[in-house]
Symmetry: C2
Subunit: 331 residues, 2 copies
């Protein structure tokens, strides 16, 4: 059973895979994604994954774990956290630890091995975004869990170990540090101003328009004011809502359209960059927060985030966001 | 002039290099360090760097910017921050910004291009550590600056763009997020327990001994309880002191000995791993803090820290620290 351990010096929870001790030599050689299909995520290979927990299918293909799906969600075969068991929260001297309980699922974004998310028709991206929501709604029912993170690693340099387009969902019994930091800052801002920080950001960005990349009626994509990485782009819904699963169907469609648009622009400005995409949503139970606001962060990994940056949280970005936004906007 | 901008959603300051706009295509191809010397950091090439701000020399070689030095500190030729100018702290709507004032220096650890820090005699490592202290003492005098970070990137995968052994010092008018998080947690712990968290950690680690890698009379090296990365190792002085430049000569020698020892052990367990080393020290003015405790973090970059980890602060570590410490201890 993996463990969740807390670093008391910064309040950061870390998953320690206590079972799967790898040989040191294995760590020295990064695994490159296998090139070319078919793979266990491809249509026709459904039996090579754990049984699906969700799939969107054409009406005529009702059979589970068989072809006919457009988007398919399965438990991760090598999960970072396990579903079964008790939390067992306990102290260990000055430290805190609990069992590595949680969910780790894979959202297979297309039955086709070779179609990147950005290349799917907009209905395909809508299916993906809807699958994220439906899984979060389901995971929220597990009283042990407090938070869900949806993320996507694209490209080996961004940490993708499989080529077939997919995103991942990790639901945890703790709130990850970056989300906790966001909640804290948002609450402090709200306490002082009685307004949502993110609503104010949407207002300023759509008024100044120097960092806007793309927008539609429901959401706006922009380069954040203080991005850690070149071409970092955030997508925020215009309407205040703390949790992603509070999004309306129209907002999900708007997010899908902007995701597809932004990834396509990135592809045209920096040919097929490796990137990470992270959905930031309120912890379970925090849906009514007046200060938090769900959003999506797209982080191209074009520069080497040296451990210096990882270690200090202090980034040097050689690309001003106004310039990045202009390049993405005009492409 | 670069800018320091604050991301209001997490309170993180970022350096934006507003002058040096790179072409997007340059970002897509990571620069590999040039292999082999001689380079501007080599003995005999002193005129290819900005004039030295510090050098330790044999008594007979008093001439500046000429051979004869053991360790040499020069301003970074391509600094992330500039020394000249006013801070100009100001608001920008909901955001905060100031001029990119600060120091960015390079500590050339040896006149020899090919001798890694771990391969220097212990007196050589002592010179390096002493140079860090002497520069911090000097930088602290600049009233505009609030914090100094000393770090070392070793290996291309850890973000090193130059091969010649060197470390860097960045002094900033702000407190980096990770240090701010540490100060906050340490203060909360002290408020509750009336003890320094780090002193308690030293006590627990040297009592349990399951994560100790090496130790001497003044300091201890151990795998932290909740490491983000395999073989992450911290070095803490046993005696409480918030700021690195409060370290005694004996403590500096002890740190040098452990640094050399730990890097040598890492080299033997995982052949010459890329790594980052970061010195965490109290912000200027915080020297008397009863809750903060300077320390060094050594972070091998064996796994790809996906932007997922960067984005959420949530890490999955496949190597339990007890196992990592055992391997490093027994090698």
């Amino acid at each position: 059973m993996p463990e969740l351990r807390k670093d008391p010096t910064v309040g950061r929870w870390v998953i320690i895979a206590t079972e799967r001790v790898r040989r040191p030599v294995d760590l020295a050689v990064p695994a490159a994604p296998r090139r070319g299909g078919p793979c266990p995520f491809c249509a026709g290979h459904e039996k090579e994954t754990p049984p699906e927990v969700l799939a969107y299918r054409a009406p005529a293909t009702a059979e589970q774990d068989a072809p006919g799906w457009r988007v398919r969600v399965v438990p991760n075969k090598f999960p970072a956290l396990r579903v079964e068991g008790e939390l067992g929260r306990r102290g260990d001297g000055v430290y805190d630890v609990m069992s590595g309980i949680g969910a780790h699922e894979v959202v297979v974004e297309s039955p086709d091995h070779d179609i990147a998310l950005a290349a799917l028709p907009v209905e395909g991206v809508e299916d993906v975004v809807r699958a994220w929501r439906d899984r979060i709604v389901d995971l929220r029912r597990d009283g042990r869990l407090r938070s869900a993170i949806v993320f996507k690693n694209h490209g080996a340099r961004a940490g993708a170990s499989l080529e077939h387009p997919h995103s991942q969902i990790i639901a945890t019994p703790i709130v990850p540090l970056a989300i906790a930091d966001e909640l804290h800052q948002a609450r402090a801002y709200f306490d002082y101003r009685e307004r949502c920080l993110y609503c104010d950001i949407v207002y300023q960005e759509t008024t100044e328009r120097v960092r806007v990349v793309a927008e539609n009626a429901e959401a706006v994509a922009f380069a954040p004011y203080a991005p850690r990485f070149p071409f970092e782009t955030w997508i925020l819904p215009r309407r205040h809502a703390a949790a992603f699963d509070q999004a309306t169907d129209a907002e999900l469609s708007a997010l899908a359209a902007l995701l597809r648009d932004v990834l396509g622009r990135l592809d045209r400005v920096v040919a097929d960059p490796p990137f990470n995409m992270i959905l930031h949503t309120a912890p379970f139970g925090g849906e009514s927060s007046p200060s938090y606001h769900w959003h999506v962060e797209i982080v191209p990994t074009l520069t080497t985030a040296a451990g210096f940056e990882v270690g200090t949280g202090f980034h040097i970005n050689p690309m001003p966001p106004e310039e990045a936004a202009r390049l993405l906007r005009e492409v």
